[in-house]
């Protein structure tokens, strides 16, 4: 009891262990973002095609992942799918797959919105020049849609990072889970340890997400200045 809860945080292996948990959080988030954003971009592009069946399927996919809370998705994937005869993956792999599907669903909506927001006459001007559909996408639609989709995508990225805090519920040793074991191992030494530790987690996530949010705001503001209302 001779030390404060804050000092305890820096004792022994506590800090390196927290950082290792932070590493797991980062790793999962990075893999999920790489896979989810690419898959979502593809699905978003598909959603602009005039094919009814495809629309219904992709819309249904989006709505399911929108309606079911992420925690529940995690549990279903972790516990139920293997029993129903599907794949059996580690907690981290399950998290990556689940979050990727969720991220892709959200991303598909952002991308669809951006593609639809590119003025129709831009694409028509390309068509009038004799560009094929693929060339219209490659030279006109995608380059113009990317800046439109960027702020929404960055905001989605911060949500993905924040959602990794749920990993502890399926046995992944992420930042929050490591934090909990630290609390259990140390809190009898100082009653305020939990306060400082959870405070540190708070700051950790903030440092990860806030710069991304600022960047998104900056881009959105720049666009507004360019388009001048």
């Amino acid at each position: 009891m001779s030390q404060s809860g804050l000092e305890l945080l820096f004792q022994g292996q506590n800090l390196p262990r927290l950082l290792a948990g932070f590493g797991v959080t980062l790793r999962v988030a990075a893999v999920v973002l790489a896979l989810g954003l690419s898959l979502g971009a593809l699905l978003g592009a598909l959603r602009t095609l005039p094919n009814r069946g495809l629309q219904v399927v992709l819309r249904g996919y989006l709505e399911i992942f929108r309606i079911v809370p992420t925690v529940v998705l995690l549990f279903v994937a972790y516990y139920l799918l293997p029993q129903l005869g599907g794949l059996n993956l580690s907690g981290e792999a399950v998290a990556v797959v689940t979050f990727t599907l969720w991220t892709a669903a959200e991303m598909s909506d952002i991308v669809r919105g951006a593609l639809v927001a590119v003025p129709r006459h831009q694409v028509e001007a390309g068509a009038a020049l004799g560009l094929t559909r693929a060339q219209q996408l490659r030279f006109i639609l995608f380059p113009q849609a990317v800046p439109l989709a960027l702020p929404g995508t960055i905001n989605l990225a911060t949500r993905v990072i924040k959602t990794t805090s749920l990993l502890l519920m399926i046995s992944v040793m992420d930042l929050v889970n490591v934090g909990q074991t630290l609390v259990e191992a140390n809190s009898h030494l100082h009653p305020t340890f939990a306060f400082w530790l959870y405070g540190a987690l708070f700051i950790g996530y903030y440092l990860l997400c806030a710069p991304l949010s600022w960047w998104a705001k900056h881009i959105a503001r720049q666009r507004k200045a360019v388009t001048n209302d």
Binding site: I67, V72, Y198, Y206
Partner: protein, 219 residues
């Protein structure tokens, strides 16, 4: 899948269902209130308060609800501040949701073309009258889709209350799994329970968006 298991756990799910609705409603109402207040403070750049509001939105939006709840429920008692689980949960939801709602409101106000404000000013309307007759009605209409998305999001976030032992839907489902090992039935009921809340809610909010647009701009 066993029907009798489902039947046996219906009462527990029923209670959890109403508790989830109640906590979500309180949290969303609070978040709307905080969000509206914060967005107005930011819109009018109220000296002093305006910077506080920006810091709040920044912090609340960029940290996970799970960590916010851990901090409130397990961390704060170390400093002598002890809040009950439901109070902590609703406070966390308001803290997080307030920032999301504020951004949605602000987005609505910013969507108003500058020419609208200038033509109002040219008629001799004071800044307060501009706010009342132009910014608020038009801005709120523009904000409705964003607000509606946040309502859905916050309902789903109540699932995280399980970590502070609030017997809402997710906590109850996990509990039944831990007690009777009927994961299939429990998770199925959980998904169904959320669908019962969210599908009609989402539909109703879409109708509301349409209605608001019709009432305010007649189209």
């Amino acid at each position: 899948m066993s029907w009798s298991v489902i039947q046996a756990s219906l009462p527990a799910f029923g209670a959890a269902f109403w508790l989830t609705l109640e906590l979500a409603a309180l949290g969303i109402a609070g978040a709307l209130g905080i969000g509206a207040g914060v967005s107005l403070v930011q819109y009018f750049r109220v000296p002093g308060l305006h910077q506080v509001a920006s810091v709040y939105v920044d912090v609340a939006r960029n940290t996970p609800l799970l960590v916010q709840l851990f901090f409130i429920y397990y961390g704060l008692p170390g400093l002598g501040l002890k809040l009950s689980a439901p109070v902590s949960g609703v406070l966390g939801l308001i803290f997080l949701g307030g920032s999301y709602m504020a951004e949605a409101f602000t987005g609505g106000y910013n969507a108003i073309p500058k020419s609208q404000l200038e033509s109002g000013a040219a008629l001799g309307l004071s800044p307060r009258q501009l706010a009342r007759f132009i910014v608020l009605p038009q801005g709120l209409t523009a904000a409705v889709p964003g607000l509606a998305a946040n309502v859905i999001f916050l309902v789903k976030e109540t699932s995280i209350f399980t970590v502070i032992a609030i017997p809402e839907l997710t906590n109850t489902a996990l509990d039944l799994i831990g007690l009777y090992y009927r994961s299939n039935e429990s998770l199925l009921m959980l998904v169904v329970a959320y669908a019962i809340i969210l599908v009609p809610l989402s539909w109703g909010l879409t109708q509301l968006e349409r209605k608001v647009r019709h009432v305010t701009i007649g189209a």
